[in-house]
């Protein structure tokens, strides 16, 4: 397990290195002055620019410049936004938690609904239920998310009036920001309306997270179905049957665990997809997350913000990826160690 952890850390370090190189090179590739792109000082006087150039080591070699850039990143100096002149680092800290909240809820919903439905489809292979679930998955996967988002707003917020259509929480509630994750903040706050606020925040998250979750859930349905079908076809399931276990025992004790192992490995891959969907959804539901902020920055050609936002988002995606790898390793003893002996 130690070697496994070290390997993952190694992978993390190198990926981060490449990501930072990419982000650094973006400041050269974007149109305009590199030093303005990297710092965001768009209104500075020529003297001011000269000062910034000195700070970023503009007159040194490229490698030194990159090194200085890395140091700046670690010090929390990610430049300022070209449009609002606010520090990017602070902006990201403000917006990223909302996205984490949304994506994690969506991932949770997608896994909790998608995987069991996929298993049910596999168990009822070549029956009505299987066909129905498969066609549902196909439809769910092919619905464009922006359309689905508008449709759910139309039905659940406007016609039925069940759920709010925009924002993270009603403006009535004043929640002091501690961790940034709103649900935790609400629970930490000592407001007398804590539980009402909690309820309100929950009703706000239902629609957007369900919209984000639909497409990944359909993918999980298909992944879980194929993986379960493969497992049910293996020798050890046949051996368990010969052992005299009932079908339920076989499913609960052997099949689910082995099928999950294969699904979990792909969850990390699907997460990047899910974050992209979340960015679109954030715009539709005015969710104050990093996706909406990033899309707005792209519209306004805020190059500094694009660089910082990309770095932060990809970092987050990669962390989730590594997390799923660890879950995979705890479920699967084969992944934990190097192979020895005959296979």
């Amino acid at each position: 397990m130690l070697i496994f952890t070290l390997r993952r850390l190694n992978l993390f370090l190198f990926t981060m290195l490449i990501l930072s190189i990419l982000s650094f090179s973006l400041s050269f590739l974007f149109p305009g002055e590199q030093i303005i792109n990297i710092s965001g000082q768009i209104n500075a006087t020529p003297e001011g620019i000269e000062l910034v150039a000195l700070e970023y080591g503009k007159h040194e070699s490229l490698i030194t410049q990159y090194w200085i850039y890395l140091n700046q990143l670690f010090e929390g100096n990610w430049g300022v936004s070209m449009t609002s002149q606010l520090p990017i680092y602070g902006e990201i800290l403000n917006h990223l938690p909302a996205t984490i909240e949304l994506t994690m809820t969506a991932l949770f919903i997608a896994m909790v609904t998608g995987i069991p439905i996929g298993f049910i489809a596999a168990i009822n292979h070549r029956k009505k239920a299987d066909d129905f679930i498969l066609s549902f998955a196909m439809i769910g996967y092919s619905i464009p998310i922006f359309w689905l988002g508008l449709l759910t707003i139309l039905i659940f917020s406007i016609q039925l009036g069940w759920l709010p259509s925009a924002g993270q929480i009603s403006l009535l509630y004043e929640i002091k920001q501690v961790t940034g994750i709103q649900f935790i903040d609400i629970l930490l706050s000592d407001s007398p309306y804590k539980w009402q606020a909690f309820q309100n925040a929950s009703s706000h998250i239902i629609l957007p997270s369900c919209v984000v979750a639909l497409a990944p859930a359909t993918i999980f349905i298909r992944l879980a179905r194929t993986s379960m079908l493969n497992v049910l076809d293996t020798h050890y399931i046949k051996a368990a049957m010969a052992k005299g276990l009932t079908f339920q025992q076989i499913i609960y004790r052997h099949a689910i665990r082995n099928a999950l192992v294969n699904v979990i490995r792909d969850v990390g891959l699907q997460f990047a997809n899910l974050v992209t969907l979340a960015m679109v959804t954030e715009v539709i539901f005015s969710w104050p997350g990093i996706g909406r902020w990033l899309i707005e920055s792209i519209y306004q050609r805020d190059y500094t913000a694009i660089q910082g936002g990309l770095l932060a988002l990809s970092c987050f995606i990669f962390l989730v990826h590594i997390l799923t790898d660890f879950i995979y390793a705890t479920l699967n003893p084969l992944a934990r160690e190097t192979h020895r002996g005959p296979q």
């Binding site: 051996a239 010969a242 005299g244 003893p333 084969l334 005959p342």
Partner: protein
Amino acid sequence: MNILDIRNLSIKLLTSTTPILAVDRVSLAMKEGEVRGLVGESGSGKSLLAQAIVGVLDDKWQVDADRFHWRGIDLMRLSVDERKKVISKDVAMIFQEPMACLDPTTTIGAQLEEAVDDEQLTGYFWQRKQQRKLAAANLLHKVGIKHHEVCTKSYPHQLTEALCQRVMIAMALAKRPILLIADEPTAAMESTNQNQIFRLLASLNQLKNMSILLISHDLENVTHWTNTITVMYSGQFVEAGTTQHIFNKPYHPYTRALVDSSPKANMQIPMKSRLMTLPGSIPILQHLPIGCRLGPRCPKAQKACVQAPKVKNYHGHQVSCHYSLKGSY
């Protein structure tokens, strides 16, 4: 008395067009305490037959039989679930590739413990876990694994193939079966390990009077460990009799060819000469010949062979051939 009595068992593979008759009217009888070998080439349907007996074939396969009795109970009259209950109480099966037959994500101990029958446990439910553990350790001791603590904690991939097969046998023993079906238990194993497994099976047969149906493609190896042998070819019954008879005086041309094809150490053959084999290979399921399926390869085949022969019985030595070699001895 026969514990298992199967007469004319057929297994059909249901395809989208016409069903394929994979096993064609095979008969098999097992006595108590008997070790019977079931021999045939790969693809001769012997594994299918075994899986049909245990009832682990999926619904692509359809099983029919004129008679299918287990210790006097007519299994064909019972529903699928009842049949499985009766069979899984008394019959255990071990498979080839033991490592693939153990759940890779569960420890050996947990898998052994779940094989232990509830009926064997006494006491209250809080005592049962401990009893199960003890039972699992005892089972491992029975199959000759001394360090049960190490074994129960490990995962299948951490053990060798032979150890895994021992664990499989231990699991099979958990139900105290009357019949153990061993489907090529030593395929892909080294010969020392092979002998260990066979010796273990033989001792179980002698000490516990457990009947064993030993499935193998290696006629010569099987003769050391069995009392009687049934030979199959391409899903059809070929010959059955005592090991002595089958090996020394086979009545069927196929069995004759099988016996002749195994080279012996004291054989005198000229250099670079061909070893004795039948021409051709076993037919695939989609292109089965009519009548006796050996027909196209058989050295004795004549016109009558397009009709499947009836089984003839010579003092317990059954053979299914129009032109049996009985007269030539």
